[in-house]
Symmetry: C2
Subunit: 324 residues, 2 copies
Amino acid sequence: MATIKDVAEKAGVTVTTVSRVLNNRGYISEETREKVYRVMREMQYQPNEIARSLSRKKTMILGMIIPTIAHPFFAELTNYIEKHASKLGYKILLCNSRMDQGKEKEYIDMLTSNRVDGMFMSSHTLEVDEYKKLKQPIITFDRRIADIPYVSSENEQGGIYAAELLLKKGCRRIAHITGNLGLDLLSNQRTNGFVKSLRGRGVEPIVFELGPDVFDSEGYERVITELLEQYPDIDGIFASGDILAMNVIKVCMSKGIDIPGRIKLIGYDDIEMASLVSPALTTIRQPLEEIAKRAVQLLDGLIRGEEVQHDNVLPVTLVERSTT
Amino acid sequence: MATIKDVAEKAGVTVTTVSRVLNNRGYISEETREKVYRVMREMQYQPNEIARSLSRKKTMILGMIIPTIAHPFFAELTNYIEKHASKLGYKILLCNSRMDQGKEKEYIDMLTSNRVDGMFMSSHTLEVDEYKKLKQPIITFDRRIADIPYVSSENEQGGIYAAELLLKKGCRRIAHITGNLGLDLLSNQRTNGFVKSLRGRGVEPIVFELGPDVFDSEGYERVITELLEQYPDIDGIFASGDILAMNVIKVCMSKGIDIPGRIKLIGYDDIEMASLVSPALTTIRQPLEEIAKRAVQLLDGLIRGEEVQHDNVLPVTLVERSTT
DNA sequence: AACTGTATGTCAACCGGTTGACATGTCAAA
DNA sequence: TTTGACATGTCAACCGGTTGACATACAGTT
């Protein structure tokens, strides 16, 4: 690969001049500028970003730590993160923690070693102290950790919407299936809002919590089947994620339970798939692109050394389709 | 951030010794090794990978260029790529080309500038020559470009499986919906196999090709609706992707067309979602994890300067579910 | 004639590691 | 006593850029 020296020699100038052209600093005549650019093109010169990063102490790389990119929610989130980050010139290093503490820690160290300018954390398997130790700019999703700025959505309100809709539709025997509540995530507030709202109307929901290790369809199906067998009179279900809700549809189909006829179902997130499945899923929509955009703005702000807003809670909306 | 010099000073040794400890080279006494490690821990030292990369001329980073991570097929593929790449110590830089030539070119340049050790290309909007120019180790998916090693699956066989199943189920008025055939992808062979197989049995399929810009659900729906209205007597459809097939289900549902009653449907890929939707999708399964694993092995081989196999075509299987 | 703005060049330090060449010293085996 | 494996140190070049300090030279103003 050609280096800045090769370019300088061939163009008959010094590396300082080439560097000036490259970085638009100091005085450069139009003539020299063009000559340098021409030589660069001829030699197919690509400046070595590694060397630049080293001397500038800036990599323009951001780390994205998520449980798994295979999950549509994280895939869509990451998609928007990449979209908005690339507008500002940042690249994304992808890290799938697979809900494994060891992997998550390794990835954090790796990102630190690679001197990324900042990181997004959407996997939170570690202890709070582990995160507090980190000195790099960080934005978390759906989790408050000390003074790390976070982005989330009105989780409690989402739960309330779900409760109100199910009640309005006449459900009285209502269940809620949620991920592991032990992880101290803001998404647990969905459960709070839902339960509180129902109790306020005299309905005591059945809450089913997934184990910490349940993150695949088989696990979902097992839990859902169990729920339906244990409480055969259920007439409404609020699942804390769309994929989970789709599994509910699947299990109900296989058991001949009609949705929305016998059971009304509400999901959460509004991933693209939600409007594709049959019956189309009623769900609580998180503004994914807004969330991503905000997260990118915040992280960029932190990197620039600005003060940024600590709490960033975006509104959710009820999207009614065919499962209610 | 602490540097190797700080560590050396505090440990009372030279940077050479610390470097030796770090890289396990030369003679180091157990005593010194431990002392150095202890100091590293105390100072929370993380070696600067940027500096290492610069001097070693190796970044251990791989680029992954795909149309969009929001599409479940690419999300799952990327997931497995990351899984297997990380086992070998590689990290993944994520690049969404969004089917835009400009973006794809920018990303290739960016990856070159960042001196990634190799790249996976699953977005192919550029001219063949653009790819041939590249000197880095590259693996492509589903496209043959000169002597760049590629991984794909038995696309033609997949098409044949689909044709045979539809015929066996009694379909006679058969349609095929496929992505843009102009892109010179191996996946176009699905169409070849399908069409050839049907013709061999005296059935002439209706082939609907998506425009080069169609890559969203609305576009899909429009085309599918058009197809169904233009040919109301269709009794079998082979869609060249599962997401596309799910859109077919959606449109049929909305038009009151029963699947598999009136129309039998086969998808392609077998993404996770395929078994989740209702009715569960009959599809041609690509061995995604195997494909990813092979691609990682190949790229790693190229990076190590080994000779690797040029053609890597993995078997597909028919997965029969409820849409046929 | 003195000054100023523009356009380059020269030189060298720096970013934070890696690595090779070579020197020195210890200790145990031959 | 010699030899050689082991353990560390010293020194400096190198990876490929960035950047500041300073020098030189020319053209146009005042």
